[in-house]
Symmetry: C2
Amino acid sequence: MNEFDLIEHYFLSNTENRRRTGSVTDVGNGDDCTVLSHLAGRLAISTDTVVHGRHVPASAPAGWLASRGLGSSVSDLVAMGAKPLGFTLALTLPKVSSGWLKGFSEALFRAADLYGIALLGGDVTRGPLTASYTVFGELPKTGRLLTRASAQLGDKVWVSGTLGAAAGALPLFDQPLRSADRSYRARLQLLQAYVYPAPPVELGVRLQADSRVHAAIDISDGLLADLAHIAKASQLDLNLNASAIPVAPALSELYSRPHALMHAMSGGDDYQVGFTADPTWSIDDRMVSQIGEVMAGTGQVFIDHTPADRWLERLATTLPGGMSLATGYQHFG
Amino acid sequence: MNEFDLIEHYFLSNTENRRRTGSVTDVGNGDDCTVLSHLAGRLAISTDTVVHGRHVPASAPAGWLASRGLGSSVSDLVAMGAKPLGFTLALTLPKVSSGWLKGFSEALFRAADLYGIALLGGDVTRGPLTASYTVFGELPKTGRLLTRASAQLGDKVWVSGTLGAAAGALPLFDQPLRSADRSYRARLQLLQAYVYPAPPVELGVRLQADSRVHAAIDISDGLLADLAHIAKASQLDLNLNASAIPVAPALSELYSRPHALMHAMSGGDDYQVGFTADPTWSIDDRMVSQIGEVMAGTGQVFIDHTPADRWLERLATTLPGGMSLATGYQHFG
């Protein structure tokens, strides 16, 4: 097979993807444009790039660029409560290898299956290894949108999932993972959290539909860093209860309490949603935790009524030396 | 200014862009997603990546990555007859420099102005220099679409613009350009054609609206290579009249007739539209040329009734040695 045939084989022949593409488009892959049809409302759009050697380790297998890239993009749809429809992929490759394309495309379609979305089109070019995803999600035609600017005084602060696992996985990449090791299961769970983000798609749609939920944000740059965006955009303070933060169990097993809490508060790559809701709101979902409240203020985040930065500094003094104090992932760090 | 502020300054502060974004979105830049609203019909989507050092020379100024990237993406919308609405940008940068960002963003918004479209959102990450554009265009809610598969027997073949200029510019990058040179104007025109693609947006919308126009394609991979897609997808032959091909005048001034014709037939980066229309169709636009006809066949392209490949080989024998016989731009060439 030549290079064009390889690309076509790995990206265009997936039967389930063709079916899904057909259900949301009039023209799918293979013409100048994809034509999305049946658009009944508004369309949420988000773009994310994964750079090999930066957002995934240089030694990462092909699939990581797919599962992490698509997961992080879908996470933005979830935070706006949009129902994921599909995505386009701009893939830049230094060379075409069938082994690499097989690993990448299998992981891509596995992730697409998880979200029930279709690869709608894209561009494959030669160059340094990067993958940019643009995802599309449906929103109702009218009604309020779940932005980061709409928190209300008296709201409770909530977060989905458990936190810190992906950040806790970072030091594990260089370590051998043997099933005989005592901490094997916990370490595997952290690595899986890093490699396979699973943003809570159904929860997002449910939050969007409930007018008592006011503001929401994707917390993948770190819980504190992202909740600070809600605080700033809404011009209100957020106070979090440290003891209520849902630290990932595997993280607690492998790290000391302060270290685990640090990862849960400031580690990146938790593709979960942080949101605020009326105090009368509740949910029958043990994967959603109430972690604080919205108070009058100027747009700051507090932990146990201490400014978040100062609280983190204090926590850091209890850690072994050299621990970073970063309060969120810096794209240009 | 820190890096975040620089990015915000150069991409989010443009007043005209904010106005345009506001007119097509409920939520623009700065939240987890952009929310496109007022969607009355179908949405055409296309993605293109520009890799620095590959799609533009390594010595190219920042603006080339903007003008060429956005132009090539909009060209795909034009070929489907969609009315351009906006785009997202995934920009990967090795470092943040205000000079580079200034040059890039100015060229980006100049190109966006040309098409009347808004930068709706994006992602800036650190890594090797590449820019991926995903463009959005509006199409009527119902009715036929202008695909490459719908040519009809007896149609005439048409092409917009003049051809070959961008391909003719490639050898000029390494040569000094002095206004005192005899061929200064012609060389400048070729370079401008390469740097500033200008896909015919209004023509695209007009072709889409006219049911006598049947099939269309963006010819930026080369006239012959792209018309071959129409032939193959429509399962009909296309015969072109060599003497009718609209060779760019500046190209004719700088190159021999066979060399200029070779560029016009097989050179890439002409962001124009090739299309077929009922023989009764005509247009009052001297920038649109009738160049051939659709005949019964198996999906081949002919020039003056000779198979295109053989015709090109014959033309090549009249050229100085070493001339490439490529019949279209190969992304993985």
